[in-house]
Symmetry: C2
Subunit: 539 residues, 2 copies
């Protein structure tokens, strides 16, 4: 079994109970398990026309997910892909139907027609007013006199639901349902079949193929077509729909058949709007899973012509979360990019002391290149030395363009330079270090304070704590010792760097993936670089 | 390619545009395609604290689906499973941050930390107040110091979002976010890996196995476990979570990792509530796809301890449809089954005329058994004769229990008897026929009117029109001719039945699936049965 179920037999009752628990008290069920599986609104007083739908399970959220204010009054659930019994439907009708009567919304499958039909007769024998409409929106098989009912059924639930909620009588609600059924057309496409619980998955659709015009019970599509991409797929679907609709505004319902990702559904949505019937689509329901076929990786498009009354009925709020709303299709709104993405380069200025200091640091790092690479080969990919020396060479070359005389600007400029020449995580971390130091300096901090602020931010972003075997292990003690002079800082950095050779369990950075016996006895290359830098400056 | 996309390169921009179009004008994006993919609320005036999140795509609806009133202000989207660039994050921050400042909500991945971190520094250099929190809710690897950020991130969006919407300041919003991060724990389980667009699917998990503690980027779980059923699966997940939570009420977030069906998710939900920590789960978010991993067939559970303030923040309404609400977990409410499911058997009564008539009809059908079976073998499974004669024998045996003296009750009782002994579609259709006739009779119709009403209903439910090669082709003309006498009715029925031999394209019933050359020259068995019945009565 490759599904999160307990058994095929208990699947629907367990799932229905799970759904009821999570409905926040809005839903109850009839006490008729296992045969009678009927979900009912708890806020129902029989004072309005009741809407009852249902059918086989496996199409969730249809239909129990649409029970609630503004949509269905009750949903009668069969087992997976199996019609509920006459008794189950009758129980549903009897439980919710008051004087105003009840409309049964039935998808056009023989089992559903018969079981709902006989239940309706039995209910009528109790003196109840019961009407039944049959949804047959699937246009896949134009010659079949009894077209299947698929996702277009949701339009019936929504529009009839809105009217019933408003208190319209059974005649009017039934007439609206019939008008919707008359107008709605649907067709589906899939790249894969669905997995029926308890049965092995059928591999009917080869890679590179899609099925067009398929049903929601794993029935084969009317044809297998070549599948190239989302645009062509939607175009084939639109080619089937276009001849069946009249001019004028329509609402589209873009249904996820189950296993299609939201990314794919959004791409399909974009393609539908851009298609040759896109201009006619003024409102959209979804993309969302509405009438699924278990885990089928497919979609369906349903179209309904929309008059002024329908617009209100489609957009009125409802209680069931599964209904994603019906929203006007809009163009893609864009805002201009904000200013400031291209960093303003500060005016270059000179300061011999700062220039010499930076140049000296760069020389030290360049000199350490091969030693640092060798150390890094123990714990990483052996390029710490090269990465640092490349950046140092670039920084040396940029000295004439730096605002050397303004320490705040200088920190920021160095950070920017390093982020652009160094690449990878270390470039970003050093850029953060210098940017934060610049911020602190702008707020009046002295050099030690600024360096501390930089390190603090690097630790927050990088997540490295002292003892994690990173450059923090040398840099933190060095900065702490700096008020006592550069020599003290160099000594502290060296001690910290050498100590990393005893840390055999890295907790941040790439060395976390290295076995501890490979790390023992070797300094962390980042910490070593810091130590060499301070030692060199101190000399 | 087995996905509804156009190309890997254009996937995220096309999908984002599709999502924006369907947001009913609530969302816009920055004009920075293809590199800068930032979704922004259109109703934003920078007067409150902005919340910016994001990261790699492939986790939809996270994060663009949660942009809107009460949740995120902007979402910065990278390519699938790839962190967005520093520039993209910076653009998002600059576009939405006003005087009250901005909180960055970042999942704990190196790329996200670095890119959001550096963008924050750059934004601060513009004088903006920017804070950053890092979500690390995954408990899969208890020893890893940098736990991943997964679906628990949604709690941060919701609670920080509610406070920001209320107008709380950056300190307070950040503090709330940190408190949520401190408290939230998550773990995931999957039966299958995800399909990364443009790459072949990795088959890492064998049938019968599940991965526990997996990430949301297709990373392998911490271990492969035996998979038996939903209950044991949830129990393993709960075993990991239980030791990490304190006593007291919690909210659970049950996340669909992408490819799990709603049925499965509801079963898992039920199992979570029934589990050993079920008593502590007072509220639930979902089950719903919230932080997916493309099409992964898996789920994750996140738990957060809930105080009084959080309850309000969690349940406040928000604009994004993708947020399913946070509802109190309730017990399963049941309503008693309605009365009337077990049909009340009417009191038997006698009426020699009716008794003889029914007995005679039954004899006629029994006599026709083998002829009707032979005809049915041409177009169906050869059992029309047996089905009818079995029912006729049962009806004959039930004569003493029928309310023979009351025609209205008699119709209904015959219908009930047939529906219980005949089975299949024909049993239900005849039950509907007699039930509707009984209804009409109760309303004062004479026999012809009652039969007409019965036939009408059968046609509605069964969908058969005259000429569709069904029993309607004999029954309808017979009933129409009945006012002129039984002989006329018999003649009309025979004519109608014989005419079905010329109908080679069945439009209802099972014969629709039979090639026309097999049907030509043979009467429809149902129509033939009707003709024989009327002919026999007329004799």
């Amino acid at each position: 079994m490759r599904q999160f179920i307990n058994s095929k037999e208990t699947l629907v009752t367990e799932a229905l109970d799970g759904a009821l628990r999570m409905a926040g008290g809005r839903l109850a069920r009839l006490d008729g398990y296992p045969h009678i599986k009927v979900a009912i609104r708890t806020d129902w007083d029989k004072s309005k026309v009741a809407l009852v739908s249902g059918g086989g399970s496996g199409h969730e959220p249809a239909h129990a997910g649409f029970v609630g204010r503004g949509m269905l009054t009750a949903a009668v659930c069969g087992d997976v892909f199996a019609s509920p019994s006459v008794d189950a439907v009758l129980a549903g009708i009897l439980a919710v139907t008051g004087k105003p009567g009840c409309l049964l919304i039935v998808k056009n499958y023989t089992g559903d027609r018969l079981n709902f039909g006989l239940a309706a007769e039995r209910a009528r024998a109790f003196g109840l007013k019961v009407r039944m409409v049959i949804v047959d929106d699937d246009i896949a098989l134009p010659e079949l006199p009894q077209a299947r009912g698929v996702a277009g059924t949701l339009f019936v639930h929504k529009i009839a639901g809105a009217l019933a909620e408003q208190g319209e009588d059974l005649e009017k609600v039934t007439a609206a349902a019939k008008r919707v059924i008359e107008g709605v057309v649907s067709i589906g496409m899939s790249l894969d079949t669905c997995t029926v619980p308890g049965s092995p998955k059928e591999s009917r659709i080869e890679a590179g193929k899609a099925e067009l015009g398929l049903g929601i019970h794993g029935e084969a599509g009317i044809e297998q077509v070549e599948y190239t991409n989302a645009r062509d797929a939607m175009s084939m679907v639109v080619d089937r729909l276009a001849p069946t609709i009249k001019p004028g505004p329509h609402v589209a319902l873009l249904n996820n058949l189950g296993g299609t990702t939201p990314l794919e559904m959004s791409v399909l949505c974009e393609e539908l709007v851009r298609s040759r019937i896109g201009d006619q689509i003024r409102w959209m329901v979804g993309p969302a899973p509405l009438m699924t076929s278990l885990d089928m990786q497919g979609f369906s498009v349903s179209l309904l012509p929309v008059g002024r009354d329908d617009e209100a009925a489609l957009s009125s709020p409802v209680a069931p979360w599964a209904w994603p709303g019906c929203l006007p299709v809009s163009s893609v709104q864009t805002f201009p990019l904000p200013d400031g993405l291209a960093p303003v380069r500060p005016l270059p200025s000179d300061h011999p002391g700062h220039r010499d200091f930076i140049a000296r640091c760069c020389e030290l790092l360049i000199a350490a290149e091969s030693d640092l690479n060798a150390l890094d080969a123990r714990s990483g990919d052996g390029d710490t030395g090269s990465t640092l020396s490349t950046a140092a060479r670039a920084l040396t070359g940029a000295l004439d363009n730096l605002p050397l005389a303004d320490l705040t600007q200088l920190y920021r400029a160095v950070g920017l330079e390093l982020s652009q020449t160094m690449g990878g995580s270390s470039g970003v971390l050093l850029a953060i270090f210098f940017a934060a130091a610049g911020d602190a300096s702008a707020n009046g901090m002295d050099m030690v304070g600024a360096l501390r602020a930089g390190l603090e931010r690097v630790q927050q972003v990088g997540g490295a704590q002292p003892g994690d075997r990173t450059m923090v292990d040398a840099l933190l003690p060095a900065i702490e010792a700096l008020p006592s002079g550069v020599a003290a800082a160099a000594e502290a950095a060296r001690k910290g760097a050498d100590n990393t050779a005893t840390i055999t369990k890295a907790k941040a950075g790439r060395a976390t993936y290295i076995a501890s016996d490979k790390l023992a006895g070797h300094n962390d290359p980042g910490a070593e670089a810091v130590a060499r830098l301070f030692e060199g400056i101190a000399r």
